[in-house]
Point group: C2
Chain length 253, copies 2
Amino acid sequence: MLTISQLASYAGVTVRAVRHYHATGLLPEPERDRSGYRRYDAAAVVELIRIRTLAGAGVPLSRVRELLTADEAEFAAAVEDVDRRLRAEIRELQRHRRRIAGLAAGDSLALPPEAVAYLGRLRSIGVPEPMVEAERDAWILVAAQLPEQMPFYMRMKEQQLGDPGVRDLYRDLAEVIGWSADDPRLPAVADRLAALFDAVPAKDWAQNALPADLAALLDAVFLDSVPCATRLLELLEERGWVGWTNMRPLRRS
Amino acid sequence: MLTISQLASYAGVTVRAVRHYHATGLLPEPERDRSGYRRYDAAAVVELIRIRTLAGAGVPLSRVRELLTADEAEFAAAVEDVDRRLRAEIRELQRHRRRIAGLAAGDSLALPPEAVAYLGRLRSIGVPEPMVEAERDAWILVAAQLPEQMPFYMRMKEQQLGDPGVRDLYRDLAEVIGWSADDPRLPAVADRLAALFDAVPAKDWAQNALPADLAALLDAVFLDSVPCATRLLELLEERGWVGWTNMRPLRRS
DNA sequence: GCTTGACCTTGACGCTGCGTCAGGGTCGCA
DNA sequence: TGCGACCCTGACGCAGCGTCAAGGTCAAGC
């Protein structure tokens, strides 16, 4: 007769594992000797090895039970099933690897490559870092909601940066971020923005609009982080433009 | 300001996950409104998305914390580390797949292919099923302790089956298994076994011996499952042979 | 007979990343 | 004022054991 540690060592498992199998009913509890120790016969070793063989091949313990008592056909079907699960897990991990590989520090965390390129472009034309980070956070939000639209938006933004006037404005807006609501230079900024908006064909506004809730979120980011944001929006409204993320012309009424 | 479910939906996670991140300190607890509800700003959405991006790429939450505050070099090193872990897990699962694939029902569970072939050979020469199963269980025990020796043992056994006398004996032993200890036919069986042993060169016994503890286990299987085993070993000892799994000639003294 | 060290027993918590009640309070709208 | 949709905390559950904790047992050496 064998003690539990002898049994475990013959089968190449830990004593704890054996007790776990007892607890879950996978391996029947053996007789006890007069002091309460479990005593095993050699058949238990064979049974335990069969359990370990299945468990060691990735079969969940809950299925090991059925597999041990299955006939050929059931066994084949169950094996097929377990293999499907293993394949799915492997695919999942490989997806993880691809995503990890695409993750460098900084911007590319949570942003597609085209957005990273766009942020790099902003930096290269001299937009200060705080402004770039504000842009980054905004695009992180957009990318999370509309990942498949990102290439389109980024092409649009890159195109806008082709205009020297827009580039200048971006650099200057970086400073505006720090202004207080009563800064005397705000009206001039509003004028420049309005002039830029006026140059955009009317139909483009509707076409590029973001979903209302996402736009509201982005507006909130702007209003939260820029002291003069509220004032700036007022000035723009005086000039015929309402909104921010989804800018639209004010209907004259 | 956002409620927890709005935050969660913007970031594409569940409310429960957000609370979990709070509990583990991964995401800081926000302000509460007067009724105790958590209220988030848009920056929390960005932070949560960054967390999800890492977690979704297979980074354990405990490491997400460090990664979010890591500089480029630390980040690169950590990513390398996570990728190593993912590769290891994938290798493990692929090992599982190979083992599952090699697992058909019945004998091949816990036995190498050469042992399965040997059992098939036994069946083909007419050895009855109970005897084959006894052999199978014995070889499962051996294979678990000495997997790399199995090809050697199996070649040895196949070679023994080349002898028509051995084949006859195997078929007959299948019946002996069921005999009681006082069966009058036992001495004749012992004679046949002893004659067979006498034909084996003395040095082969030592060469093929199994480790003592494994041999003891296999002997125990034999003694447990065969009623006349003890008597048979006595008869063999009278004829100059002791042991069973590790049979050896009795020194005349 | 006593000690020592190696085993045995049960019971319970820990790990990962949340899902899923349970049992209550709150908000907003008709 | 009632209803449905949210919010809160607290706690258990999941897989497969690892790892104490607190004790009882056994075999061997003195």
